[in-house]
């Protein structure tokens, strides 16, 4: 049986509109959201006036902003920020995977120590940790690697030479990040049903193989989105290492404005680059998430070019 009337999209226009109730085609008139139009107009008006006042406020020193935007000192800082983010995240993610597996270990000593690690690194401010690592040489003037208490040492060096501001920054950011990543990875592993592990074991797989081939790839779907957020967070967190005189983006801006007193435009340059990087990361994150979602693509049809944050209806 056909429906009594066909619902047409509003754009289909009027057909035999005024024919009365027997008409085949009735036009649907959507609700007019007058309130939205008014609210939008008000908000846009405020935005325009804000942009106008910022653009025309001479105190922002826009010529200075453009002068330093691509200057060598800022680009060098930008490069160091990117490098720090990448290296710290590599340390954080690999450390996080190891810690997550250790946290789930059946060995009470291993899982207990891991819990202690998480407790310490998540319980103290990252800024304090960075300063601590930077001053490590004061605690341990000589760093050596060997068998504890006895035996030969394989490696020995002065802490002052080993702990440069860069290594201190990588250690501080990376080890701290590992603690947070451990919880993310652990949640991801736990999100994979026990049936998957049982199926893998029933096929004769050993624990590590099942973890690598079956559990972790599925856990990634849960792990990737918060890891993207962590990376974006890390990018901004690298600005903290300015306290240990490492010339990343913020410190570069500071060195310039401490000399020229053009504080605001230099900070605007730094913010501009942070925004460029975080936008890039957000986009990359959505691409990766889409790739990983392939196996369930049939279950949830979605336009395959939309970035993640627009995916919801």
């Amino acid at each position: 049986m056909e429906e009594k009337h066909t619902v047409l999209p509003a754009s289909a226009g009027r057909t035999s509109g005024e024919d009365g109730p027997d008409s085949e085609d009735l036009v649907v008139v959507p609700i007019r959201h007058y309130g939205r139009w008014i609210a939008s107009a008000i908000v846009l008006l405020f935005l325009a006036s804000l942009v106008h006042s910022i653009a025309n406020n001479p105190n922002f020193l826009w010529p200075v902003f453009f002068e330093y935007l691509f200057s060598e000192v800022m680009i060098d800082g930008l490069e160091l920020t990117v490098l720090l983010t990448v290296v710290a995240m590599i340390v954080g993610i690999s450390g996080g995977i190891v810690l997550a597996v250790a946290r789930l270990s059946a060995n009470p000593v291993v899982s207990g120590l891991t819990a202690g690690y998480l407790w310490f690194f998540r319980g103290t401010p990252i800024l304090v940790q960075l300063i601590f690592w930077y001053n490590l040489a004061a605690l341990f003037p000589v760093i050596s690697i060997g068998i504890p208490f006895t035996g030969p040492t394989f490696f020995e060096g002065s802490a002052n030479d080993l702990i440069t501001p860069f290594t201190a920054a990588v250690l501080g950011l990376g080890l701290n990040e590992a603690a947070y990543m451990a919880e993310i990875v652990r949640a991801g592993i736990l999100s994979v049903g026990t049936g998957q592990d049982e199926a893998a074991r029933a096929l004769g797989m050993r624990r590590l193989l099942a973890m690598r081939r079956i559990i972790l790839p599925q856990a990634l779907r849960v792990i990737i989105p918060p890891t993207g957020n962590e990376t974006i967070g890390m990018l901004k967190m690298t600005s903290l290492v300015s306290v240990i005189a490492l010339s990343e983006l913020l410190y570069s801006a500071q060195t310039v404005y401490s000399r020229t007193f053009e504080t605001i435009p230099l900070l605007m340059v730094a913010c501009f680059w942070y925004l460029v990087l975080t936008s890039g990361l957000t986009f990359a994150q959505s691409v990766i998430e889409r790739r990983l979602g392939r196996s369930t693509a049939a279950a949830s049809a979605r336009p395959n070019w939309l970035p993640g944050w627009r995916r919801q209806k």
Binding site: G193, G195, Q196, E198, A199, A200, R201, A202, L203, G204, M205, R206, R207, L209, R213, I214, P217, Q218, R294, S295, T296, A297, A298, A299
Partner: protein, 254 residues
């Protein structure tokens, strides 16, 4: 080797204070199909999972192909096996789960070739060729590259059977393989299992499909409250159950 494929002597399993299996005795000969029936919570699935050591037994002895499952005996001591040895034992025992448990991040073919390549370390091309034959045998040659989410329940379960067969097991365990399926999809899975039985595969099947048990099983075991109360050829057991509880159960399901 001769002798039974599975031999259970007084197998017990306790979860805390709760005893799920209280002395299960069962022998499964080569090429035999044994169906285990019984009310839910009677320990059928737990017993099946003990056979490939997904559950550790708390008492009794369990042999597969003449070897103790999960333990090595030296003198009068049982040594628990290392993970590597347990894994090696499982290679010869295929298992099919109620919830299929296909790997959702791999295609149908990917699911089937994974273990032969990674566990048995067989050459990839050879495994792919053989796996394609297996997928063809379960009637899914056109869905080779589909992901589990794109397959119906019945298709997923058939891929799961092909995945287990790809390891060339001596024994197949089926844990309620059709219980999670829509009624109209049950038949296609049972057909595959029927063929497998006809080819002489040794099978232990926990099932609620009485028709299948009646037609395919060489023995049917009725289990209740952690014990096998009655066992025999399907015709006898279904027609003339001896035990009070099996009589009540069968009158309800037949």
């Amino acid at each position: 080797m001769t002798g039974p494929m599975v031999r259970a002597d007084g197998v017990r399993k306790r979860f805390g204070a709760h005893e799920v299996l209280c002395g299960v005795d069962l022998t499964v000969d080569r090429s035999e199909v044994v169906c285990i029936i019984g009310p839910s919570g009677s320990g059928k699935s737990t017993f099946l999972r003990c056979i490939n050591h997904l559950e550790k037994i708390s008492g009794g002895q369990l042999y597969v192909d003449g070897h103790l499952v999960g333990y090595r005996r030296r003198g009068n001591k049982l040594y628990e096996m290392r993970e590597r040895e347990v894994a090696a034992q499982r290679i010869d025992i295929g298992m099919v789960f109620q919830q299929f448990n296909l790997f959702p991040h791999m295609t149908a073919l990917g699911n089937v070739i994974e273990a032969p390549i990674r566990v048995r370390k067989e050459p990839r091309q050879e495994v792919i060729r053989r796996s394609k034959e297996l997928i063809d045998r379960v009637g899914l040659s056109s869905r080779m590259d589909a992901y589990p989410a794109q397959l119906s329940g019945g298709q997923q379960q058939r891929v799961a059977i092909a995945r287990a067969l790809a390891m060339r097991p001596k024994l197949m365990l089926f844990d309620e393989p059709t219980s999670a399926l829509d009624p109209e999809l049950v038949g296609e899975v049972l057909d595959v299992m029927r063929d497998l039985a006809a080819e002489g595969m040794t099978m232990v099947v926990v099932t609620h499909e009485m028709g299948f048990a009646q037609e395919v099983a060489s023995k049917v075991a009725f289990m209740d409250e952690g014990q096998i109360l009655e066992m025999g050829p399907p015709r006898e057991l279904f027609r003339d159950p001896q035990h009070e509880r099996s009589r009540t159960f069968l009158s309800r399901v037949l």
